[in-house]
Amino acid sequence: MTTTQATSTGAVAARIDSGTKTYGQGDTEVRALDGVTAEFESGRFTAIMGPSGSGKSTLLHCVAGLDVLSDGRVFIGDTELGALNDKDLTLLRREKVGFVFQAFNLIPTLTARENVLLPLLIAGDDHDEAWFDQVVGILGLEDRLTHRPSELSGGQQQRVAAARALVSRPAIVFADEPSGNLDSKSAAELLDFMRRAVKEFGQTIVMVTHDPVAASYSDRIVFLEDGKIVDELHDPTPDSVLDRMRQFGA
């Protein structure tokens, strides 16, 4: 069932190898991930789909270095995460990984600009002003930069989060239901931007979603069920996604 063959010639930005994650013990044991093997190629937009509780978030967290596998291995680039201590993992997240969460993505006391630059501020690094302007420009946030998150709409907040995920040019961006809380127009704007980031800047993005429309922005969809990868779909459209989902009865 597992699908390992690469459909692109590009390098692998991250991969998980026979990843298993269990919670609890004995009777109450839950296998959130059950021997998952997958690769996320550079410069591609991958979506992870599956019914609620199928392990999507767990997979994302483990690959992103926010959580540790019970068994198996995870690589970001050539680095195996299992070998890293908390300090190295923190550095890795800071330098190689970008995040967009479903909600509460921003630090309320910082301005939009500071939120965008957060990873660089944390690292104490200078930023590339041209790149910053470009990202902010595409996201239409120029005149929102001095605002605090509470003064931004939900869509704007998520776009700030997306800008933050991109501004440090991470090797890979993880997004967990980034459009889950947005109205359809804001969701479309955000997803469109994410696709452009992949197409125009070669960004690698892995996104968890249960929305077929959102998933259709991706290049490739990985389907999870009960902690296992059950299928894969390339160059999806909303219809083909819906088709596939019906097939699995999800």
């Binding site: 997240r93 993505n105 309320p108 910082l110 500071e114 990873p119 501020l121 944390i122």
Partner: protein
């Protein structure tokens, strides 16, 4: 409802613990004060009961005037014959007592720093000696024999047969130790040293020849002490009274308890400061708790709970916290009592260490304060909680339950003005006359109001204040610094309250610094301007004096031009104790500049009293009129006001009398030894020579220190410093409570910001950076508290110093370094407070944190 409240309490054990901690410490201080003073009280009670054991009636001089440091006046020895002639008397002996300092084998004076150095006559009939028992040897029989207490003997390797030097008011001489004595089970009298002489010798040594301090009587079998007292009283001459031994024991321990009452009040004031600080912390905690439970409480309202029920839920939680804190606090009081004993013994007050009794009063007051403060602090947040609309449960809104800034400004300003008015009126007292005690209370209340007002008003300026204080932070520590500043001003009110808790302790420390420094500067200036003598001889420590013979010896020396003795005493001025100094009026002009503005020191030598000009002006007295003075030995007298003076800095008294008049009125009360001796060297004698002469003469008086002007000044400063150490030690608890408050508030705030911290960690912030962010925040809050404290402390220090101008504190001195040091101290306190919350925040599990609701 109680079950719900109980559940919330147990669901948040840590929060409960931290909240209870601040109340607990305040209660512990109060309980500790009571236990501490009760212990001393009981110790002395037992002591006096034992001292009079077996005795039935005491005959002693009668006094209508009851002032500090005074015993009954001595009586004529002939009274004993009258007493012995009374039917029913089995045995009776007269006795005398006074100062006696035993020297060890190296010639050093054995002087305990708190308890006195007592000398007395030994009775021939040991039945009359109370619980005194000979440990070995026999009673002294000749003028060169002595008994000493067993503790002094063992501590100093003195055994029966050894020869020791003893200083008494009349001489320093050698005596053979013929016995060591104990007092019941105890080897000494609550720390005092004791030297017992044969009666005639004692009378000579204490300058009481032909006199008795008291007569001890034992009744014949079958005669009741009360009846015997009556029969004895009927034969006594005027000025002599008979009391039963039991009454006398009670009376003496009563006197001691009263002097302890002052100590108790002083300690309770510090305890109340701690409780006051704790009340800030608790109020803050409950406010945060209610805020965090807004949704939950709204949900309860939505499902039908009434507003009153919500109030009760929060209040019951407060009652539980208060009760737990009170119980632990009272228990912890024993530790505090021990600590107080240590603080006092660290500065030289040795107190007997016995087990401390737990009085019902301690429990009642401890509970009342612990529960009262906690519940009072919870009521306002609870009432606000009840106002949360049920719909808040359904919406994700933050209901504003705060007082508006406008109201806050108005109320805060009113409280501030009233507080300042109370303080100023209390200090300068010319607007409203409240009486001396009420004035102190009013000043205290005014101070509390100022603290409250500053706390209320400071929330309005916390934001710019934090940004101002934190301006260098972003350049030191860019992101974490910025976040820390922002976090500290997120809830201005919370930050203001937390900072205010620290402010209170530090304001009082700053106040004492300023007052202390001003006293030192004033005393220093007074010594510089007023001391004409080259040397000052006095006793270190808190009690006693030294034999006047030293002064007489020095007067003989050709290298010495003049010596002036100063002896202190208390007298009754319109019902309250007033201090005076007896001075050698013939020499005082050579040794001390008094700034006499009317009359002269020669006139003072013939009798009368000289009074500080400010008091004379204040009372509207005129030189030549008589003023009423009450003395313990001689009763009420009309004393002529013979002069005024302006420089009280060296003599340290506003009322001066000549030495002749002093001896008339203070003979045999225990203070009639030299307290200070000012020595002026003769013209042309080199400093080294005169010093050597003085040192040589003083060598025999091992309890005194010879100091030149600079050294004397330094020793006066050291005394002030010692007091500062005590006060600051007593304030430490208030500061510790405030540090707990910062930690508690920080922990609760971090709890609120769990998701944010998770997010920061997810996007790459390291644990160290998280810790740093929280530490900076704590430091900012603490420094705000320190700066507020310094401002309030400056105000207190300046007005109080100004008000004490008449008491000779006429120089305002602000120790800038020490005061700025408080800012550094504040920063360190902040760091300490951040330790636990920072570690907790850094350890947050990222995934749990970001999915935290």
């Amino acid at each position: 409802m109680i079950r719900t409240a109980l559940k919330t309490v147990f669901a948040h054990k840590l929060r409960l613990a931290l909240t209870a901690m601040s109340v607990m410490m305040g209660v512990a201080f109060i309980a500790g004060t009571f236990i501490f003073t009760d212990t001393i009280d009981e110790t002395f009670n037992d002591l006096f009961d034992d001292l009079f054991a077996g005795q039935d009636v005491i005959v002693q001089g009668e006094t209508e005037i009851d002032v500090g440091f005074s015993g009954p006046p001595p009586m004529d020895a002939g009274v004993l014959d009258l007493v012995l002639a009374v039917p029913g008397v089995d045995a009776a002996e007269g006795s005398v007592g006074g100062l006696a300092i035993i020297y060890d084998k190296e010639g050093e004076a054995i002087v305990p720093t708190g308890p006195p150095t007592i000398g007395g006559s030994m009775t021939d009939d040991l039945r009359l000696a109370g619980n005194v028992e000979l440990r070995d040897g026999r009673v002294p029989e000749t003028a060169t024999e002595v008994s000493i207490d067993a503790k002094t003997a063992t501590d100093n390797n003195i055994v029966v047969g050894d020869v020791v030097k003893i200083q008494s008011p009349m001489e320093v001489a050698e005596y053979e130790v013929v016995s060591t004595i104990g007092f019941g089970e105890s080897d000494n009298l609550a720390g005092a040293t004791f030297a017992g002489f044969e009666l005639a010798t004692a009378q000579r040594l204490f300058d009481l020849e032909g006199q008795y301090s008291s007569i001890v009587v034992i009744a014949q079998e079958g005669t009741s002490p009360d009846l015997l007292r009556n029969s004895i009283a009927s034969v006594l001459p005027e000025g002599v009274e008979a009391v039963t031994a039991a009454d006398e024991a009670d009376a003496q321990s009563e006197v001691l308890s009263e002097s302890l009452g002052f100590l108790q009040t002083a300690l309770l004031v510090f305890a109340l400061v701690a409780v006051f600080v704790a009340s800030f912390i608790i109020q803050n905690t409950f406010r945060i708790i209610v805020r965090q439970r807004q949704k939950e409480l709204a949900l309860m309202r939505a499902v039908g709970a009434t507003g009153n029920q919500v109030v009760w839920m929060v209040v019951i939680e407060a009652i539980i916290v208060g009760a737990v804190a009170s119980i632990i606090g009272i228990a912890f009081g024993f530790v505090i009592a021990q600590g107080l004993t240590s603080v006092l013994s660290a500065v030289g007050f040795d107190l007997p260490s016995t087990t401390a009794p737990l009085a019902t009063r301690t429990i009642v007051v401890g509970f009342a304060v612990g529960m009262g403060v906690t519940v009072a602090a919870a009521v306002l947040p609870a009432i606000r909680a009840a106002r949360i609309p049920p719909v808040a449960a359904l919406q994700d809104v933050d209901v504003r339950l705060r007082m508006s800034d406008r109201r806050r400004t108005i109320i805060g300003s009113i409280v501030l003005v009233v507080g300042i008015a109370l303080i100023v009126n209390g200090l300068f007292g010319d607007i409203l006359d409240l009486g001396p005690l009420n004035e102190l209370t009013a000043i205290g209340a005014g101070a509390l109001m100022v603290f409250l007002a500053v706390s209320m008003l400071s929330s309005l300026i916390v934001k710019p204040f934090a940004q101002f204080l934190g301006w260098p932070l972003p350049s030191i520590d860019n992101l974490t610094g910025t976040l820390a500043i922002e976090n500290s001003v997120r809830k201005p009110r919370r930050t203001a309250t937390t900072a205010s808790a620290l402010m209170i302790g530090l304001a009082l420390v700053a106040f004492f610094f300023i007052l202390g420094d001003s006293i030192k500067a004033s005393a220093g200036a007074a010594i510089e301007e007023g001391l004409r003598a080259d040397y000052v001889i006095n006793v270190d420590g808190f009690s006693g004096g030294f034999s006047p013979v030293l002064g007489n010896t020095l007067d003989e020396a050709p290298e010495i031009e003049a010596t002036t003795s100063l002896r202190f005493g208390f007298w009754d001025r319109d019902g309250s104790d007033e201090f005076l100094m007896g001075i050698d009026s013939e020499t005082v002009d050579q040794t001390i500049f008094l700034g006499v503005t009317a009359g002269s020191t020669e006139i003072l030598g013939q009798g009368g009293v000289m009074v500080h000009e400010d008091i004379v002006d204040g009372e509207g007295w005129v030189v030549g009129e008589t003023i009423p003075m009450g003395f313990a030995t001689t009763g009420r007298q009309q004393v002529e006001l013979v002069g005024t003076f302006t420089e009280a800095g060296v003599v340290q008294a506003n009322f001066l009398i000549g030495m002749g008049f002093y001896e008339e009125n203070f003979k045999g009360v225990g203070t009639d030894v030299d307290f200070v001796l000012a020595v002026k060297a003769a013209e042309g004698v080199p400093g080294e020579t005169s010093r050597a002469v003085v040192e040589a003469a003083a060598a025999d008086y091992a309890n005194v220190t010879v100091r030149d002007q600079a050294e004397y000044r330094k020793s006066q400063e050291d005394q002030v410093n010692q007091l500062l150490v005590i006060f600051n030690a007593l304030l430490i608890l208030a500061v510790i409570i405030a540090v707990f408050g910062i930690a508690n508030t920080l922990a609760l705030s971090i709890f609120e910001r769990t998701r944010e911290i998770g997010l920061l960690r997810a996007v790459g912030m390291s644990r160290r950076q998280i810790k740093r962010m929280i530490r900076w925040e704590a430091i900012i809050v603490a420094i705000i508290g320190a700066v507020l404290g310094i401002v309030v402390g400056l105000f207190f220090g300046i007005v109080v110093t100004a008000a004490l101008g008449a008491q000779g504190i006429d120089v305002l001195s602000i120790p800038a370094v020490q005061i700025l040091g408080l800012v550094v101290f504040g920063a360190i306190a902040g760091l300490a407070a951040a330790m636990f919350p920072a570690r907790r925040a850094a350890k947050l599990n990222i995934l749990e944190a970001i999915s935290y609701e």
